[in-house]
């Protein structure tokens, strides 16, 4: 879906993006994290074809953003960190304008507006002025505007900033629904614990360089499995270490994370082996890596700042 090859971007005296390479698959939700000033917003603006890179190549769905920026815009929905709404228009007018200006056919605009309003739970606000909306409602309207033309790629820069817990939970659900509908999402955020809830992939960028790209749910080497025990059991590490295709990723007194190669069958076999050995297993199932720990370790290795 996204192919970024050797991308360079300079500000006067500063290389904001330095030989950045990655690919992102369709239907994924990728967390873009990094310290302040790492180049996240610049990268998102390049992906949105708002800023052509000074070197390298970016393709969205095989469309080169430098050669065809206008065509790229049709494929992308972008919500900048500082977004604006037309406060004197109603929610319905905002969505209608967004759909029309994004090239939705006249006959399909009403349907697109209703669909977007339903998806972001603002269907009952269509007649209300944008200026009368709460922070969370404004955020939902802004994302609805960005997706009303059903882009293949949605770029969100700090979408959860300023939202209350309920609005953040709603945002998580919304993004998961978008990914299930086949939309690829890239989210830049500082709130790593929430990114864990819905992101499938991770990009860490630091001082313009990509320092980490990985899947958060599964890797080529196996599924991530969390094992929790009712009480400490000394044989756990030994059994896991002795089982072929199993690799311990992290271990705390409460949970041990391991990567299990071989799919669901291998995981079931491991569980049976542990139970047969008398392990007091209280939880055994797919899990995600701790994003905060992963980020801190990776950025600390690079000598960067906090998220």
């Amino acid at each position: 879906m996204i192919a970024v090859e050797h991308v360079l971007f300079d500000y006067p005296g500063v290389r904001a993006l330095d030989d950045v390479n990655f690919t992102i698959g369709k239907g994924t939700i990728t967390a873009l994290v990094g310290p302040n000033g790492a180049g996240k917003t610049t990268l998102l603006r390049c992906l949105a074809a708002l800023e052509p890179p000074h070197g390298g190549r970016i393709a969205i769905d095989d469309v080169d953003i430098f050669d065809e920026p206008r065509r790229t815009h049709r494929l992308v929905g972008y919500l900048p960190d500082f977004f604006g709404l037309y406060d004197t228009l109603s929610v319905g007018q905002c969505l209608t304008y967004a759909a029309g200006s994004q090239g939705v056919e006249s006959g399909a605009i009403e349907q697109a507006v209703q669909k977007a309003a339903r998806a972001f739970s603002i269907g009952d606000l269509l007649l209300r002025r944008a200026s009368d909306l709460s922070r969370g409602q404004r955020q939902r309207l802004a994302i609805a505007q960005a997706t009303v033309h059903e882009p293949a790629l949605l770029l969100l820069d700090e979408p959860a900033a300023g939202l209350d817990p309920q609005a953040r939970a709603d945002l998580s659900q919304t993004l998961l629904a978008l990914a299930q509908a086949g939309i690829t999402v890239v989210v830049s955020s500082h709130i790593l614990t929430e990114l864990e809830d819905y992101c499938t992939d991770l990009l860490i960028i630091d001082r313009g360089r990509l320092v980490e790209q990985r899947s958060l749910s599964a890797t080529e080497t196996g599924e991530l499995i969390a094992i929790a025990l009712a009480k400490p059991w000394p044989d756990l590490d030994r059994i896991l270490g002795a089982t072929e295709g199993v690799e311990i990723v992290s271990a705390t007194p409460d949970v041990t994370l391991c990567r299990v190669a071989g799919g669901a069958g291998a995981a079931a076999a491991l569980l049976k082996k542990l139970v047969d050995a008398g392990a007091p297993v209280t939880r055994f199932g797919p899990d995600r890596e701790n994003l905060q720990a992963l980020y801190s370790a990776r950025v600390a290795r690079q000598g960067g700042g906090a998220a």
Binding site: P12, H54, Q102
Partner: protein, 449 residues
């Protein structure tokens, strides 16, 4: 209908605004009719709405998007450059046009009622009504154009940007207001044309070019990639337009010399206007440098600032002036510039010095554009050029030192050879400074790609 226009209509034409305006204007015009002042009151109200408020709205149409955080979405929308341009020009001013439209209809009614019966249906008698519309649209277009230029120069102060745009638009109206008492005849390429007709046709022509310029800037903002020929085309128009005012009764060699001088002056003015209007983006300059080093001519054509073709056209005309001056010397007084008789020792050298000083000035503007405070580049550039071409020469002339006055500006009085040497030395110095600054802009340890 343009979605930009439609959105603006939703915002601008709210029912309570329309009703309140209709009532207020109705009272004003009824009162004016009662005291016998309907013609000038309606014209005044027209210019209050279409001129004063319309120019403000046109200039603000772009800045309110930038300040409001909606401009990025507009840049990414499917709305093309032309629908975006006219959608803003006529949409953002829709309410102003509502009030102006009422005033215009009242004015037309007053004109029609006052006209003698024999000319009541003669369209020529009512040409002022059309001229009011043309000048109002031209003023608004100029405001939008100036605001767009400032926005692209990253001026973010809304009030300042809108104010400058509005003033630029209102200045366009001055010739229109002046024409009420004008019954002169213009000579243009030897044709006698009533001044008011000429003014209207000129306004139409400049409105066309203002729209071309707005369209071009909008294309650049909306990420269209193209190599524009609009600046050279406008340069040709401007030179042709202004040359038309040269007296065709002059002897052929003098006529040729004067036409070349007028064309050169027009090209020089356009060059400086483009130079000061170009967005001074260090990053764009770095990309241009890379394209130059890579020999990517297509990219060079797309990235080249608009002052470059204007400068090349000026250089071509200046060279033509020099060649003409050397080939068929015309005594300076016959050119009609009396002060040249005493001040310029060599016309050809003087024009060459102007050419080199113009190149130096591009270096100064570029140096500020890629300096540490690019957001202040335009102010710093204007102040610097004012000092070099105004304050310093005047000071030296005041101290009876015309030779020193010619060191920074091609003012008459100095030796033209000295001017030329000084200009070349400054150009060289600026070349060194620019090269050093560009090297500083490159991220450490990274060579040009």
């Amino acid at each position: 209908m343009s979605w930009e226009f439609r959105r603006n209509l939703w915002i601008q034409l709210t029912p309570h605004r329309l009703i309140a305006t209709s009532i207020v204007l109705g009272v004003v015009f009824l009162t004016a009719d009662r005291i016998g002042a309907l013609r000038w009151v309606s014209a005044g109200v027209f210019f209050l709405f279409a001129g004063f408020w319309g120019t403000r709205r046109a200039a603000d149409s772009i800045m309110e998007e930038v300040i409001g955080g909606t401009w990025q979405n507009q840049r990414m929308s499917a709305v093309g450059a032309w629908p975006m341009a006219w959608g803003k020009l006529f949409g953002a001013t829709a309410f102003a046009w509502y009030g102006a439209g009422i005033a215009w209809i009242v004015r037309a009614y007053a004109d029609f009622s006052d006209a003698p019966l024999r000319v009541r249906f003669d369209a020529v008698e009512h040409i002022d009504l059309i001229a009011m519309l043309v000048f109002a649209v031209l003023a608004q277009a100029m405001s939008l154009l100036v605001a767009l230029i400032q926005m692209r120069r990253r001026r973010r102060g809304r009030h300042m940007t809108v104010g400058i745009g509005q003033i630029a638009g209102l200045m366009v109206l001055i010739p229109f207001l002046d024409r009420w008492s004008s019954e002169r005849v213009m000579e243009w390429y030897g044709n006698a044309i009533p001044a008011w007709s000429f003014l209207n046709l000129s306004a139409l022509a400049f409105l066309f070019w203002a729209m071309v310029a707005i369209h071009q800037l909008m294309r650049a903002e909306l990420q269209y990639r193209d190599m524009t020929l609009r600046v050279p085309a406008f340069a040709v128009f401007l030179m042709t337009y202004l040359s038309g005012f040269v007296d065709i009764g002059l002897a052929p060699e003098i006529y040729r010399a004067v036409v070349l001088q007028v064309a050169g002056t027009a090209a020089l003015l356009l060059y400086y206007a483009a130079l000061l209007a170009a967005p001074g983006e260090p990053v764009a300059l770095l990309r241009l440098m890379r394209a130059l080093r890579a020999g990517d001519w297509k990219l060079i054509g797309e990235l080249a600032p608009s002052w470059l073709p204007a400068g090349l056209i000026f250089a071509a005309v200046a060279i033509a002036v020099i060649v003409n001056a050397l080939a068929s010397p015309v005594t300076l007084p016959k050119l009609g510039f009396w002060w040249l008789r005493y001040a310029i020792d060599s016309y050809a050298s003087w024009v060459a010095a102007i050419l080199v000083f113009a190149a130096r000035d591009a270096g100064i503007v570029l140096l500020f554009a890629i300096g540490k405070r690019p957001e202040r580049a335009d102010v710093n550039s204007i102040v610097s050029l004012a000092v070099l071409h105004g304050l310093l020469p005047w000071t030296w002339l005041a101290f009876q030192s015309p030779s020193l006055a010619g060191l920074t500006s091609p003012v008459p009085g100095a030796s033209t050879a000295l001017m030329l040497v000084a200009a070349l030395a400054q150009l060289l110095l600026l070349g060194v400074l620019l090269n050093r600054r560009l090297a500083q802009l490159q991220p450490k340890g990274v060579a040009y790609a």
